[in-house]
């Protein structure tokens, strides 16, 4: 079953066409990585899917609810109750964590479940402790974000997103602000989510990780999807642009 469906999405900033006719679909439990060089539009795509940017045309459907559609060249976003429902079904993990510095770890995680989803504090905290335990952060519940390492911060932000029980979790370069050691720590956590059957869309520069974890990989270049296929096929692609991009990556590795 399709959890996310995107059709003919277009987005420009002023006169710069950042996304040119993007279509893709993600089914339940699937893990999809989006790769591509900086400026290829992959982060903008993720931001459009999370309504941090408004699209110029196209259609986005999340778990059966239409977020936005286009009729006669007019973009129409859904009514706010629908948008709110979609919000609850999606989670986003940022590159820079964006934790709330004035709340401790526990409150960072429970604030939205209590005040947005309307869950009781007791229930929200029980769920938060469960998540912290799963992510190896039990002893950090009372800590404040400034007391955490980058890896711990990112794990807290993953817990914060998971606390709302999303149907699909988006990651926007979750390890780009981390050193290699901390990167491993965060990737381990993302891997562990795979066993929970979590649907994930991951924008990343970690090629080996993407190859290992993904069911499908999407390669974007200059605002279009060049390839959308299995990791194996992508890494053996005959496409010139794919080869050029992965070639750069191989040069770095070797």
């Amino acid at each position: 079953m399709s959890v996310l469906s995107v059709k003919n999405l277009q987005k420009s900033f002023d006169n710069l066409r950042v996304l040119k006719d993007i279509s893709l679909s993600v089914t339940s439990g699937e893990i999809v990585s989006i790769i591509g060089s900086s400026g290829s539009g992959k982060s903008t795509l993720l931001r459009c899917l999370n309504r941090l940017e408004l699209i110029d045309s196209g259609e986005i459907t999340v778990d059966g609810d239409t977020m936005v559609s286009t009729e006669n060249d007019k973009v129409k976003y859904a009514e706010s109750p629908v948008l709110k429902q979609i919000r609850m079904k999606t989670g986003l993990v940022f590159q820079n964590f964006n934790l709330f510095p004035h709340y401790n770890v526990l409150r960072n995680i429970t604030e939205a479940p209590i005040h947005v989803a309307g869950i009781s504090r007791t229930e929200a905290e029980a769920k938060a402790y469960e998540l912290l335990d799963k992510l190896g952060l039990t002893d950090k519940a009372e800590s404040f974000p400034y007391q955490l390492s980058g890896g711990q911060s990112q794990r807290v932000s993953i817990a914060r997103a998971l606390a709302l029980n999303p149907k699909i979790l988006f990651f926007d370069e979750p390890t780009s602000a981390l050193d290699p050691e901390l990167t491993g720590e965060v990737l381990k956590v993302i891997r562990s989510l795979k066993s929970l059957n979590m649907t994930m869309v991951i924008v990343t520069h970690e090629m080996s990780f993407a190859r290992e974890i993904s069911n499908r990989m999407i390669f974007m270049d200059e605002g279009v999807i060049v390839e959308d296929t299995t990791p194996e096929e992508l890494f053996n692609s005959a496409n010139e642009r794919t080869k050029a991009f992965l070639g750069k990556f191989h040069d770095v590795i070797n």
Partner: protein, 216 residues
């Protein structure tokens, strides 16, 4: 001055300080919320709101408070045929004057917040007022404490200006006594009173900053 006269003046000064306190607290009571309102107006995307607010901020910050005091005391006479009670005119003027400074301090604090905080709140489903009250405002308060401390201390001293429209307070008392007794002692004493009040204000801010230092 004789010791008896000084003791007597000391008592008067304590009473006069109460007036300073009254102006101080009433001005804050009105100017702190009014400043927030002006700050939102200043940040409005609609020019019809933003531009008049900018003009208000410019005039209030660009002209002397002493002149504004005279203006708000005498101007109502030409409109409603009577002046405002002196004390009310003083509170009105100080409030709208300080609100202008507070508005810009609030704006500085709000605009210094990283975009990521808004985006994280949005993605988690917080609405606009929840985001402002739960996420942005607490962090803004911590950031603006030092400049607010400046303003609060300046306000204590600026209360001396209301004497120009005949509101009796500490400065008035000091200068009157000085000319009667031909001694600078009253000035020194008044200075000590202002300083003592500002020591309390600055300690208050120190305490608040310490309170807010549980996070970075």
């Amino acid at each position: 001055m004789s010791p008896e006269a000084i003791l007597k003046l000391l008592q008067y000064m304590i009473t006069a300080s109460a007036m300073v306190g009254k102006i101080f607290f009433l001005t804050l009571l009105f100017s702190l919320p009014l400043g927030l309102l002006a700050c939102f107006g200043r940040m409005s995307k609609w020019a019809i709101i933003r531009e008049p607010v900018k003009l208000y901020l410019l005039i209030m910050r660009g002209t002397p408070l002493i002149l504004q005091l005279f203006f708000f005391f005498y101007f109502p006479y030409y409109v409603i045929g009577t002046t405002l009670p002196r004390f009310h005119a003083a509170i009105l003027t100080c409030s709208i004057n300080y609100a202008a400074y507070f508005a810009e301090i609030y704006r500085g604090g709000i605009e210094s917040m990283p975009k990521g905080q808004y985006e994280a709140a949005k993605v988690l489903g917080f609405n606009k007022s929840q985001t402002f009250i739960k996420i942005i405002l607490p962090q803004v308060i911590k950031r603006i404490l030092p400049p607010m401390g400046n303003e609060f201390m300046t306000l204590v001293k600026d209360t001396a200006l209301v004497s120009v429209i005949g509101v009796a307070e500490l400065y008035q008392l000091a200068t009157d006594t000085m000319s009667q007794s031909a001694s600078t002692m009253p000035l020194v004493m008044a200075g000590a009173f202002y300083l003592a009040m500002n020591i309390i204000v600055s300690k208050g801010f120190e305490f608040a900053e310490k309170k807010m230092s549980y996070y970075r």
